[in-house]
Structures are given as structure tokens and as C-alpha cells.
Amino acid sequence: MVIRTATDNLGREVLAGTHTKEWNVAARSITSQKDAKGNSNTFHMIEGPAATVEAYKAAISKPDTHVVFVGHSLRPEGATHETGIQLSNGESYGKEGSWSTKVTPGQTPDSPPSVTFPSTVGMGDTVSASSVALFGCNTYDLTQQYVSTNFTGVQSGKDGVTMTDTLDLMAASWVSAGGGQPGNNASNAAVDNSPHRVDTGSNVESDPAQ
């Protein structure tokens, strides 16, 4: 399951519909194989506005699923490390929980709509997927939020950031190589091929489930 969303300075979605060729290769690589039980693998991509907190939570809670996220990580002002990832309608902090935005239309045409922010922070979310790989800046910081699964995150090097364009190619390469160490090697090769100066030093690292 691939979930990707990010916007540019004008609020336009920048990942949805991009790198089609690379993601088609990744999809074929997955669907051409069978899992350990002999079942054919499936490949799903959710992107842009559909990449919601609810979709992400459903993905990471599902056993026998490999989840890949591409997009923005979150670092609070004043902090030295990332604390979560940004979905199209809220944020996720892995097993620590999440919140989203829910708008309810007014009960009559004249009454205004209302908004609420359903949150599981404090209660936590279930992480039962076989693996979770987060392709955002410094997402390796989030490893403690995913201790129950095989986790892969990005270290963003000296500049502390990695371009979304590069992160997307890293993710597609990782999936095409089947994840694990081959996936990490393929991701790091994608960084080596990046034309962007700020990507220098970015690389992926993995931690096994504890």
C-alpha cells in the first residue's frame, strides 16, 4: 500500500500523478510475485486528497501489509527531531495516535457547517502491518513509533531536508527492489542520482520489529 501526498508553495498537490513510469515498474514488481502463503501480491496506491489519516490508519493496522508513505514529515518549532507525518486531512504519530479534520454540513441550508478534530492521541493507533517505510525528511526519527513492525525511515543529511521529488523516487526504487536491504540500496542509489544539492547525504535506514 503506497500513500503519498505533499503540496507546493501554491498549495498544489505535487506527488499525485508524478513518476508514473517508476511507480508502474514498482507495481509490476510487486504483483508479479507471491507471498509466503502462495497468494498473489496486490499493489494499491492512495494519493493526494485521498491520502487521509483514516486511509493511513487502516493501512498500518492491517497484518500482511507493507505500507509506504511519501510526503511531509513534521517537526515542531523548537524541536530537534520529527514527531510525525502529514496526511491530507491531519497528522499521524504512529502508535502514539493521530488526528484528522471532520467537517459536518449544517442541519439546514442556512446553518453553518461545523468542524471537529477526532483524535486518538493518548489512546494510540494500532500498528500491525508487516512493514512501514516512511519517505519524508528525517523520518528515521520516528522509529520508536513503529517498534512493532519492520521500519524504514530517511536520514536527511547535513542540510536536514530531502526534496519531495527525490523522496518519491527513493520510495519507488525501494518498492521495486522489494524493500529490505536491497530496497535501501536502491533508495540510496536514487539519492546518488539526484540533481538536487540539498539531497546530498540523504539515505535510508531500517530497524527490525522488536
Binding site: D8, L74, R75, P76, M163
Partner: protein, 176 residues
């Protein structure tokens, strides 16, 4: 100019105080950590100037009397001054004016009296004169604490311990 210098000095003293306190508490090398920035003259809220209404006022369900509006910035090249704790040097703060992409800008009010803005922004870089998004984002809340129209308090809003809606609500907003 003198006023700006004084404001900056006040802010640095404020941050310095925060470090000293943490250092005493932990007895370890002085860390770099803060959760609020106060600027007497008020912070400029990126994307606010010329912003249009994207989603009209909605009642915030869990906060009686509070409403929220989604704004659509029109500024093509917004920036923000960031105060970052260095990942490589303990205790070092890095101050920088950076290009950003505005993900969301929300305005919160009580009876039409706007008292807080919540800004979610992605960090951009500029290469060969072109803005490009990175995979890093942050959230920040700006508060008008006294109804003066100056949004003097800037507070982090991007972690599991931070609330989504403004908290606490300044007293002036709920009076009348």
C-alpha cells in the same frame, strides 16, 4: 530600527532564560528547546496578507462559541523566519528566513473576533531560482493575547502533545 533591535533583544533574553532553566533542571549540557516565541510588536502571519476565504466560518464542535475559517493565501512566494535547534550542535539555535509553501491557514474566532491563526507550512528550497518543496513541514499557532490586533505569541503546534484547536483561549476573546 531601534524598536526592532529592542524587540529582538527581548526575544533572545526570553530564549536564554528558557535554556538556563532547562540546564538547571537536567544538569546536563544546555539543550536547545523552546515551545513559544513572544514578539511584542506582533508576528507577521505568512500568507495572511491578501488571503481569500476558502471555506466559510464553521463552528468548532468541541469548543462552544469558537468558529474556524479556512483561508487561501494568494502570496506566491511566502517566507517565514524560523528559529531552529541545530541537530549537530547542542544548544545552538539557527535563525533563518526560509521559503515555504503554505499547506493550510486557519483563522479562529469568537463572535467574529479573530484571536488565533494556525499555519501549516512545508519547507521549500530554491535551486537555480526555482522554488521546490522538500519533505519537511511544520505547524505553528499565532495568538493575539489582548485584542490589540497584534499576534504576539507564536507557539509550536506540531506534535502529539499539541492541541489542534487553539489552547488556551485568551481571556479577552470570551468577555462580553
Amino acid at each position: 530600527m531601534r524598536r526592532i533591535i529592542l524587540t529582538m533583544a527581548a526575544m533572545i533574553v526570553f530564549l536564554g532564560g528558557s535554556y538556563s532553566q532547562q540546564s538547571r533542571e537536567k544538569g546536563s549540557p544546555t539543550p536547545c528547546s523552546y515551545s513559544e516565541l513572544y514578539r511584542k510588536d506582533g508576528w507577521m502571519v505568512p500568507g495572511l496578507k491578501g488571503a481569500k476565504i476558502k471555506v466559510k466560518r464553521m463552528a468548532v464542535e468541541d469548543s462552544p462559541g469558537m468558529s474556524m475559517m479556512v483561508l487561501e493565501p494568494t502570496e506566491p512566494e511566502p517566507t517565514i523566519t524560523v528559529f531552529r535547534c541545530s541537530r549537530d550542535h547542542v544548544g545552538r539555535m539557527e535563525i533563518d528566513e526560509i521559503p515555504i509553501g503554505i499547506i493550510t491557514l486557519w483563522a479562529f474566532d469568537f463572535g467574529g473576533r479573530t484571536f488565533a491563526y494556525r499555519l501549516s507550512y512545508g519547507i521549500d528550497t530554491i535551486e537555480n531560482g526555482q522554488r521546490m518543496p522538500t519533505g519537511s513541514a511544520a505547524n505553528v499557532m499565532f495568538y493575539d493575547l489582548d485584542g490589540s490586533g497584534r499576534f504576539v505569541l507564536r507557539k509550536s503546534a506540531g506534535g502529539p502533545s499539541d492541541s489542534v484547536a487553539p489552547a488556551p483561549i485568551p481571556e479577552w476573546v470570551t468577555k462580553e
